[in-house]
């Protein structure tokens, strides 16, 4: 493990300690408020909150997260390949490397285009050209 990571750990620790530090200072300084029912209810622009704090299931959030993971894994695979691209120019194998990266990117672009054309990337339902699959 490189020595640089020790500094990185210390950054994590110190920034993680800053949060309770600041909240602790606030704790010492702040007044103890009364627990009135009105104050503790959720804020809805002055109205009484209606219903529980649940919203109906919106699948588009979930689709976005899944497509993100797919592209994330792709990125994680491309970064090491990109790191050796420059060396491959010196080696003379650049055409091969370019072809490999191109293939990788092209296949995933095909997937993206498929989702796009079928309307799965639409945030608002009903604005698609193709009818959704029944």
């Amino acid at each position: 493990m490189e020595t640089g990571f020790i500094t990185a750990f210390w950054f994590v620790i110190i920034s993680a300690l800053t949060v309770p530090l600041m909240l602790g200072v606030g704790f010492l300084l702040r007044p103890k408020g009364k627990d009135t029912r009105r104050k503790m209810t959720a804020y809805e622009c002055g109205e009484e909150p209606v219903g529980s704090a649940w919203i109906k299931f919106n699948i588009r959030f979930y689709i976005v997260a899944i497509v993100f993971i797919i592209f994330d894994v792709e990125m994680a695979a491309i970064f090491p390949a990109a790191t050796v691209f420059k060396d491959s120019i010196a080696n003379g194998t650049v055409a091969l490397v370019f072809g490999e990266i191109f293939l990788f990117v092209a296949l995933l672009l095909i997937g993206l285009i498929y989702c796009w054309v079928r309307g799965d990337l639409e945030w608002v339902k009903g604005v698609t050209k193709f009818a959704p699959n029944k």
């Binding site: 490189e2 020595t3 640089g4 990571f5 020790i6 500094t7 990185a8 210390w10 950054f11 620790i13 110190i14 920034s15 993680a16 800053t18 949060v19 600041m22 606030g26 704790f27 300084l29 702040r30 007044p31 103890k32 408020g33 029912r37 503790m40 209810t41 959720a42 804020y43 809805e44 909150p49 704090a53 919203i55 919106n58 959030f61 976005v64 997260a65 993100f68 592209f71 994330d72 990125m75 491309i78 970064f79 790191t83 691209f85 420059k86 060396d87 120019i89 650049v94 055409a95 370019f98 990266i101 191109f102 990117v105 672009l109 993206l112 796009w116 990337l121 639409e122 945030w123 608002v124």
Partner: protein, 377 residues
């Protein structure tokens, strides 16, 4: 870190007695408490002043000479507010959420190249480390919004998380051309290779700033900038904390210092994103066309570090200024426009740039425009 240790050894009489972890802790503390947190605080003041200037009024001017202690007054006000967890809200998660945001933004300062000799942790996976750490912010927003037990907060938090998460792909893909050009993930090396001097010989690895390496990287810089705007929830991608739509979005129920920590985390993130653009595309701490270490006479390391640090800060703060400028210029994007812009706009363009950069490097054997000009001219 090696460079910092070398720098420290030049002050050996003072710091030679510390073990490695001691020196690491001190650098971390210094960077966080003298750069990250003060910037986070001052940025609230700077933003208000810039806003005022653009709206033709005077901003805060009461507290201190030109109102400069406004951020301290705000901090004291926030600290003295009442501790408030909404009824039915989850206390543990409510307290945990700002932690993710602050840790995510402040840890990224570890890999920022403040100067050739002042990088907190010049790790070999610098760029990946940066991406990984800024990714910690998304769960923070999501958990905080859920713990508020408020429909509108939850909606804001879900939108914020899906926005941050979607725009991470174009951001990573916009960093990819830089990795292709530099052949390394180490930020210190990426910045060093961007030096170019007209007063002498340039090493073969050096090309001028990455933004001017080829047309595709120039375009990538703007994609990175836009993606960074979206990642930090700045206008025009401001919907998660939209002031006029969801009250205050995901941080509706946060008050006092917890809200202050969110704001701090957001401004630190803005700085990190701007620093990323500066370091990866705008030459980091290099003075354009001049290499102060290769002048006829040798400058002391401390002075070189000082000058380079200021150069880096000037460039980064210019980018931060543009970010703040955009806030008061552009209207806010609607959520479907926002997501559509990511998946149907930025993402294909980012892919196109990656392939274009790879193609350029193949055709021109990795040389930048500047190297080509210098080679022929």
């Amino acid at each position: 870190m090696v460079q910092s240790a070398q720098f420290a050894h030049s002050l050996e009489g003072w710091f030679g007695f510390l073990p490695l972890w001691g020196w690491a802790a001190i650098s971390a503390g210094l960077v966080i408490y003298m750069l990250a947190l003060p910037f986070g605080g001052l940025a609230t003041y700077i933003e208000r002043k810039i806003a005022a200037d653009m709206q033709d009024r005077i901003g805060p001017n009461r507290v201190g000479p030109i109102g400069i202690f406004q951020f301290a007054a705000d901090a004291i006000k926030m600290l003295s507010k009442e501790d408030f967890v909404p009824k039915g809200g989850d206390r543990f998660l409510f307290n945990l959420a700002p932690l993710f945001v602050v840790v995510g933004s402040c840890t990224a300062f570890a890999v920022l190249p403040l100067s050739k000799y002042l990088i907190g942790a010049d790790v070999n996976i610098g760029v990946i480390f940066l991406l990984a750490v800024t990714t910690l912010i998304a769960p923070g927003l999501l958990l905080g919004s859920w713990a508020s037990e408020n429909k509108w907060s939850l909606l804001g938090g879900l939108r914020a998380a899906s926005q941050i998460v979607s725009y991470e792909i174009p951001v990573a893909l916009s960093i990819l051309p830089v990795v292709l050009i530099s052949g390394s993930l180490q930020i210190g090396q990426i910045v060093e290779q961007q030096g170019w001097t007209v007063f002498g010989e340039n090493p073969a690895t050096n090309h001028f700033w990455n933004a001017f390496h080829n047309p595709f990287t120039f375009f990538s810089m703007f994609l990175l900038f836009v993606g960074g705007l979206a990642e930090t929830n700045r206008i025009p991608f401001d919907l998660p904390e939209a002031e006029s739509e969801l009250v205050s979005g995901f941080n509706t129920e946060f008050s006092g210092m917890r809200f202050g920590l969110y704001a701090l985390g957001e401004f630190c993130d803005v700085f990190v994103m701007s620093a990323m653009v500066t370091a990866l595309y705008l030459g980091g701490w290099h003075i354009p066309f001049l290499d102060i270490e290769k002048l006829g006479f040798a400058l002391p390391t401390g002075l070189v570090a000082f000058i380079q640090f200021h150069m880096f800060m000037i460039k980064t703060l210019l980018v931060v200024f543009v970010v703040m400028w955009l806030r008061w210029t552009l209207p806010r994007l609607r959520v479907d426009q926002l997501m559509g812009m990511c998946w149907k706009g930025l993402l294909p363009l980012a892919f196109f740039n990656v392939l274009g950069t790879a193609l350029w490097m193949w055709v021109f054997k990795g040389q930048s425009l500047m190297q080509l000009l210098a080679g022929h001219g």
